[in-house]
């Protein structure tokens, strides 16, 4: 069985579902002949034709609105926003229509669509190509927000997202698109869309994260282990609807919580998790909750971007602070 990267797992999931469900179509800018700027749709147009892998006019609003129309007619569109920094014109269609269509028509019309977007910084990209803005979507009712952090989870979660009867934002951490390979059987097995993944068991501190920061979190856990500190690492790959129970169970066990994300700190999704920890686990806490995040600034251009993104060192320091507190 072949070893594949995260981006290849995206392609594999798209190809599997298109081969098994004729209602699945892919649309976006450069998704056709070019196979997407990151090659996520490589080879799909050759296999499935120009109509099912459609190069659209260069207009994000058009892509988003046409996706709503396709989905209401019973298609399962997978739209690509070329970069998360270009997703803003799509937000009206996503918030005002896709996410509320089922609700406002009492279930008469639905939008089983997926919006994929390469997400986050750390690849020395030009301006507007490195944003982390998942928190702008986690506050929209009726919308699922998903972010895989491994090839296997990219494959299983994308299949689940396409099969889900409601709209899903599928953010792909582009910094780890090709970070490593793993075996991902092309068996069409989807993963659940409503559970967090506990990637490492630990007893002393819970590190809660998602997307590309899973890499830093796991490395931090290694570093902490070398010092005799046992860290549990949770990947909140399905941000909304949130499976808080898994996080609560872990924090109740460790008594310490470090939340790591790339987006700006204030009103980032970490704020929601911290609030929930305060609501449901306050008396289990042995130390204040720590957040290791991007800053409340625009992500700098790439000479400085690694100073902005949470580092292993910052995560380790935060974990140690929670241990020093009690």
């Amino acid at each position: 069985m072949a070893q594949i990267t995260l981006i290849e797992a995206v392609t594999q999931a798209l190809a599997y579902e298109m081969a098994h469900d004729p209602s699945v179509v892919v649309l976006g800018e450069d998704v056709g002949v070019n196979g997407g700027v990151f090659r996520a749709t490589q080879g799909l147009q050759e296999k499935f034709g120009e109509l099912r892998v459609l190069d659209t006019p260069l207009d994000e609003t058009t892509i988003a609105g046409v996706t709503v129309g396709l989905a209401v007619q019973g298609m399962k569109p997978v739209a690509e926003a070329q970069f998360e920094g270009f997703i803003y014109p799509m937000m009206e269609q996503i918030a005002c229509h896709a996410a509320r269509m089922r609700n406002r028509t009492r279930g008469r019309l639905t939008v089983p669509a997926v919006w994929r977007a390469p997400w986050g910084g750390g690849i020395r990209a030009p301006e507007h190509h490195s944003e982390a803005n998942e928190h702008l979507f986690t506050n929209i009712p009726g919308l699922r927000v998903v972010m895989p952090s491994s090839p296997a989870r990219a494959y299983g979660l994308l299949l689940a997202a396409i099969r889900d009867p409601d709209p899903v934002m599928f953010f792909e951490p582009k910094r780890i698109y090709r970070q490593y390979k793993e075996e991902v059987p092309d068996d069409g097995e989807a993963l659940p869309l409503d559970v967090c993944f506990v990637l490492r068991d630990g007893a002393d501190v819970t590190i809660v994260t998602w997307g590309a920061q899973v890499k830093e979190a796991l490395e931090a856990a290694d570093a902490l282990a070398a010092e005799g500190i046992s860290a549990e690492v949770i990947d909140v790959a399905t941000l909304t609807p949130l499976d808080f129970d898994t996080i609560a169970e872990s924090v109740q066990k460790t008594g310490r919580c470090v939340i790591v994300h790339e987006a700006p700190k204030t009103a980032g999704f970490g704020a929601e998790i911290a609030a929930r920890v305060a609501e449901e686990c306050l008396y289990d806490l042995l130390a204040p909750v720590e957040r290791v995040t991007g800053f409340d600034t625009h992500i700098p251009l790439f000479r400085l971007e690694m100073k902005y993104l949470p580092s292993v060192e910052r995560v380790v320091d935060a974990a140690k602070r929670t241990l020093a507190a009690s």
């Binding site: 609105g65 709503v68 129309g69 019309l109």
Partner: protein
């Protein structure tokens, strides 16, 4: 001089403001006077419905309501030309088209009366149409996406969207006609130009002499139509639908009409437009010309008018009663349609609200 491209915009009209035929080549449907009477009757019932809606709002039984007064020919012309299997994506005042497609007045009242069930159209073909779209012009892209679905599946269906003159300023409108041109989609985009976008007049929306010509930029067939002349509207719609259905591409229709009422019941048009202009608007309104034409053909008269109005009144009273008798949804309805199944995390919020309800009772 070398000309790279040339275009012109045809203006289509059969009946002038007094109901005199300005051309002899009547389309087939207009030779069927029984059918023309049916169209007139639906225009009249739309007007009765509209008056009833405003009365309901004035007496506190309806929230804000967007009137369709003066748009009867445009809207009935659109609805009557479409086939049941086609799909309609309206904005929020095209009741004449929607009544034709099976939307019930009680559903309109329900929506403007603050109840989502008004969007759950019960009767086909409206049941597969889009619900009202409040964010301007966004529905044009839903129609374009629907048209793309029809093309992918090889279905002989057409998607129709309507927007106003103001809506034609939005990128969503251009995006929809642009992809329709690029992909040869069966889309008919109708601009119902009623001269006013709340308080902003048509001339502030665009420097283009016609709004129809925006379709030229997208490579679509484009025409301007007297939107108060139902024969012209219906003919232009039939031609556009036929072209789309047979794979000859999409169209942009500009229906020139006039918004005789306020933008909505929350608006007061006297703040921004003069009495004379509204008077001129009434002189060109769509009912009178068709009535004159039908009376001249001896298929309509005052007695028939009164009898039909009375029937409409009774119909609307029934609909109003059905609306007023509807019980408010249970509070759990806030949660039930957010996702296909209520997620566990959301169910906790629902259970909390339900516990408050139980405490109150």
């Amino acid at each position: 001089m070398t000309i790279a491209a040339k275009f012109e915009i045809e203006y289509l009209q059969y009946l002038d403001a007094e109901g005199k035929q300005v051309r002899d080549d009547l389309p087939e449907f207009a030779k069927d006077l029984g059918h023309m009477v049916e169209l007139y009757k639906l225009m009249l019932s739309t007007r009765v419905f509209d008056a009833k809606s405003i009365a309901l709002q004035r007496t506190g039984k309806l929230g804000t309501y967007a009137s369709c007064l003066g748009h009867e020919a445009a809207h009935v012309g659109i609805g009557s030309a479409m086939r049941p299997e086609d799909v309609y994506a309206p904005s929020y005042r095209e009741y004449g088209a929607q009544l034709y497609r099976g939307v019930q007045p009680r559903e309109v009242y329900m929506y403007w009366g603050g109840d989502e069930r008004g969007n759950d159209y019960q009767k086909e073909p409206a049941r597969h149409d889009f619900a009202w779209s409040v964010p301007i012009a966004t529905q044009c892209l839903h129609a374009a996406g629907s048209a793309l679905a029809f093309k992918i599946r090889g279905e002989k269906r057409v998607a129709v969207c309507t927007i106003g003159d103001g809506g034609s300023s939005k990128g969503d409108f251009y995006g929809a006609i642009n992809i329709a041109g690029a992909q040869n989609l069966p889309l008919v985009a109708v601009i119902v130009n009623n001269q006013w976008a709340i308080s902003v007049p048509r001339k502030i929306q665009s420097g283009a002499p016609t709004l129809a010509q925006k379709g030229i930029a997208a490579g679509l067939f484009s025409i301007q139509v007297d939107g108060n002349d139902i024969i012209a509207v219906r003919k232009a719609m039939e031609d556009a639908l036929e072209r789309a259905r047979s794979g000859q591409g999409g169209s942009v229709l500009e229906l020139v009409t006039y918004r005789l009422g306020d933008h909505t019941t929350a608006d007061d048009a006297r703040r921004y437009r003069g009495e004379q202009e509204v008077k001129d608007g009434w002189a060109k309104e769509p009912m009178k010309r068709l009535r004159n034409w039908l009376v001249a053909k001896k298929v309509w008269d005052d007695a028939k008018e009164e009898a039909w109005k009375a029937e409409c009144d009774e119909w609307m009273d029934n609909e109003v009663n059905a609306y007023l008798e509807t019980r408010t949804q249970p509070v759990s309805a806030m949660f039930d349609y957010t996702f296909a199944e209520v997620p566990a995390d959301l169910a906790k919020q629902r259970d909390y609200v339900l516990s408050l309800e139980n405490k109150a009772h």
